[in-house]
């Protein structure tokens, strides 16, 4: 379900609130996310790893991606 349409022209606020109440849990959160300190620390660790410095060979990443795509293509038939 993408949207709930409520015709509001002849309804008061309380009635609108009552109508949409059962659907509030379907609302998706959007907007900026605050990253936890732990997450930022883990990212720093990953970035500072020797294998993640410029010049490192990442051919295996593309090869893995290719293999996943081939696999899913085969599944799709």
């Amino acid at each position: 379900m993408r949207a709930i349409i409520v015709r509001v022209s002849d309804r008061d606020d309380d009635e609108i609130a009552r109508i949409i109440a059962p659907f509030r849990h379907l609302a998706r959160e959007t907007g900026p996310v605050v990253l936890s300190d732990e997450y930022i620390r883990m990212i720093d660790e990953v970035e500072s790893a020797p294998e993640n410095q410029s010049g490192s060979d990442k051919t295996w990443v593309w090869e893995a991606d290719r293999q996943f795509r081939d696999y899913y293509d085969r599944l799709k038939g």
């Binding site: 900026p32 990212i43 990953v46 993640n52 410095q53 410029s54 593309w62 795509r69 899913y72």
Partner: protein, 197 residues
């Protein structure tokens, strides 16, 4: 995302066998063309994050690859021509990118910061002038230059990519961030010899 760990590539085929059977990877051809043409770009999005994965088990799958380009019409033009040479078609919205491919068109596209999509061989590459919360000049000095099939591939820093996704905060970004954070946490536990929760 799997968390199987293990060796980087569960290769069923050796690289040469794969090359003979399938030909060069289209994205590799594009990256080689971009390098030859001296195009300035960085890989961002999930495709960028994957370059920092510890093993094939924590590589995310994504339908498209995102390349971030500076607001430079000449550079964009070189990128589009490299994509065409690599056998990709160019799209803007639902329509083919206009012709002729020249500076006038490039200036229009750049001024609107319009997304151009390169599609071909089952591969989709977004050539974007927008990265949430960052300008190109912000991310360019912090990029890593990784080697892929002997090609230099500039990739935005992991911290910049994650921060951009956090700033955008769309549902798919939130899902990615939660999954990525959990993946890193489990990896850390495994490294410290504790079983993942």
């Amino acid at each position: 995302m799997g968390l199987g760990g293990g060796p980087p590539v569960p290769g069923l085929l050796r690289p040469l066998e794969r090359l003979i059977l399938t030909g060069p990877d289209p994205f590799s051809r594009l990256a080689a063309g971009l390098e030859r043409s001296g195009v300035r770009y960085v890989v961002i999005g999930i495709a960028g994050v994957n370059h920092y994965a510890q093993s094939a088990g924590i590589v995310f799958t994504t339908e498209d690859r995102d390349l971030f380009l500076p607001l430079d019409p000449g550079n964009a033009l070189k990128a589009w021509r490299a994509a065409l040479d690599a056998g990709f078609g160019l799209w803007s919205g639902d329509e083919p990118l206009g012709r002729p491919l020249d500076e006038v068109l490039a200036e229009q596209v750049v001024s609107r910061r319009a997304l151009v999509r390169a599609e071909g061989h089952g591969v989709v590459v977004d050539l974007s002038f927008v990265m949430a919360a960052f300008s190109f000049d912000d991310v360019w000095p912090r990029r890593r230059i990784f080697k892929v099939d002997g090609i230099d591939v500039p990739v935005a820093s992991l911290k910049d990519i994650v921060a951009s996704k956090a700033a955008a905060g769309r549902p798919k970004d939130r899902l990615f961030l939660a999954t990525h954070e959990d993946g890193l946490r489990q990896l850390g536990r495994r490294r410290r010899g504790r079983p993942p929760k």
